[in-house]
Homo-oligomer: 364 residues x 2
């Protein structure tokens, strides 16, 4: 008894059965907690399992039940604070339901995203949460695969027109409009817009810009629309030169903002719609020796401890990251449980947090 198995192998149900002197099925029932087992037998079996250090093999169980109790998560970058926060929310909700999380980063690359979904399908995850790297008008063949296989899907943070699935996003447009409106209210009329990963030419005008939106991430597009709406409401003409056309990395944001500041009629305020865009903008101000908010007012996206402890404290649009992930996971779990609720897009509210980085434009 209590013989340690060699070679690092794990004891199986059969071995426990042999050790306990009962049949395989009896052990399965005892440990699986189904069917009926006499108290005496149960004890014998449990003792044998204990002695052998038995642990169930989830792979075998999945093989037989068809469920892996694993959620697949596909997002741009686990290292990014926004996605890291979201992931935490997902993981918390998953754990509570006794699920685990398999994460894949795509770096906003469509090929990697497709490969990631293939992996998740092959590994037979029970559900998928996806922050698409595709623009809202993209076609996403891999999604069909999920649907075909009956794997529930929840879109996170970004919508895609062609995909009919539950989604959890924030009210990007309203939040953005509110932020820009607060700049306008403070007296600004030249407001720079630094946005996320967009790889297109500079827009020739507002209409051209709307065209570009079709290929942009939904979230980025909405933020830009919010900006446009705020301008329009205030009767401020739209100026292409105040909108960056590519700011995927912080350094690109810095370069873009330096470009704006070099204009003959430079912006007196900047709305940066991502963390990297904000820090990139700050770096640009710093390089030009400009001060915030005295020379240029700033509003960022995504709150963090840093934003609130620096001087001046940064006004930001704060996304409920944890909540976003939690809700996405809960939504997915409900769907997996066979929920027949109609497909829905859940919109969470992002709070505009007013701090000290906004002041009236300089008198001059």
């Amino acid at each position: 008894m209590s013989i340690q198995r060699d070679g690092g192998a794990s004891p199986t149900i059969s071995e426990v059965a042999a050790e306990a002197g009962v049949g395989r099925a009896t052990v399965a029932r005892t440990l699986g907690g189904y069917g009926s087992v006499s108290p005496k037998t149960r004890e014998v079996v449990l003792a044998a399992a204990q002695r052998l250090g038995y642990r169930p093999n989830s792979v075998a169980r999945s093989m037989s039940t068809g469920e892996t109790r694993t959620l697949g998560v596909v997002l741009a970058d686990v290292g990014n604070p926004f996605f890291a926060g979201v992931l935490r929310g997902i993981a918390d909700a998953a754990r509570r339901a006794d699920y685990d999380v398999l994460v894949l980063s795509t770096d906003e690359d469509l090929a990697q995203e497709a490969a990631a979904i293939d992996v998740l399908v092959d590994k037979r995850v029970d559900g998928v949460i996806l922050a698409p790297a595709a623009g809202r008008q993209a076609r996403m063949p891999q999604i069909d695969l999920l649907e075909q296989r009956g794997i529930p899907l929840v879109l996170l943070d970004r919508l895609v027109d062609a995909v009919t699935a539950d989604a959890v996003v924030i009210n990007n447009r309203e939040a953005s409009r509110e932020a820009v409106a607060s700049l306008i209210e403070a007296g600004h009329r030249r407001i720079g817009f630094v946005w996320g990963p967009v790889t297109t030419e500079p827009a020739a005008g507002a209409d051209d810009l709307r065209r570009i939106l079709d290929s942009a991430l939904w979230s980025d597009g909405e933020r830009l629309l919010g900006y446009l709406e705020a301008l329009e409401q205030a009767g401020i003409p739209f100026d292409t030169s105040l909108v960056t056309h590519v700011a995927k990395h912080e350094s690109q944001a810095t370069r873009a903002v330096l470009g704006m500041l070099a204009l003959s009629d430079p912006p007196t305020a900047i709305f940066a719609t991502e963390t990297d865009a904000l820090t990139g903008s700050l770096r640009a101000l710093r390089q030009r020796g400009l001060r915030c908010p005295d020379d240029v007012s700033l509003i960022g996206f995504d709150d963090s401890s840093w934003a609130s402890v620096m001087t001046p404290a940064m006004s930001v649009v704060a996304q409920p990251m944890h909540q976003l992930g939690k809700l996405a996971a809960e939504c997915l779990l409900a769907r997996m449980a066979g929920g027949v609720a109609p497909v829905a897009t859940h919109v969470l509210e992002a709070d505009f947090v007013r701090r000290d980085s906004v002041a009236p434009p300089p008198a001059n």
Copy 2:
């Protein structure tokens, strides 16, 4: 032909075999790329697989091969920027070797950590990367389970005396000593030390403190020892009241620093050994209306964009997060591949980044 299967089930090898009119084994050989198959048959099989949209079932493959091509990662909090960065490094290295990553957060809780390891064992991951929540002198029974099962393990960021396994850490003590030394060099003699999650009483003195170290995280302990060494080298007496005894959350760090600043002989500089500790310290200064570096000099741990764009730019000990994760994964993969290299602890260098948050103490 090309009949779509109903019920969301995936086509199996048998179905492909039927569709192609060949035996199961032949399909397996064709798709698995082993054995030999005639070019003609190969084509027929591939066409059938294509028509049916065949995708291999990784679960079944794992069942048969005994490997899951999945790495398990156990860390305190995926939402924490440090761990998020490390995780990204792990995921990148894993992907390159065609492995996926299952992540579990423990919130620095031993029970959750034990449960996490159980899950990974049950799911039969091929290897585990663990940032232990346990102090260096803790006993960790779950680790034995891993060893028993022959699952390779790499410790990350923190060492545990009782565990013999490969490890990847940074040179916490030297980095800490260097940071504190630079404060001393600037003229400071009253230097506050705000450290990470430690749940013990205030130390009664240096010796008592060393005792406390045994139950602290290895990394936290090393950082404190670095602090002590720097003081000793400069002949500055150790003062318990300048060392926080609990600063697990930012708010606790703030409270602790406020306490220090209220001392009759308050610190003129603070070394915060975690991101939260630094932002917490900054918040305390802000509440007291003190300015950095004019009134109090600061050095933090972990670099971020924020640290370098704020005013003053923060001096920090920058950990190579991505590299840390990447190396841990590579080390694990090597061990999984049957590497017979002796167990080793890899020590990466953390750079001390000198910026503007350190100045001589105020003249007064």
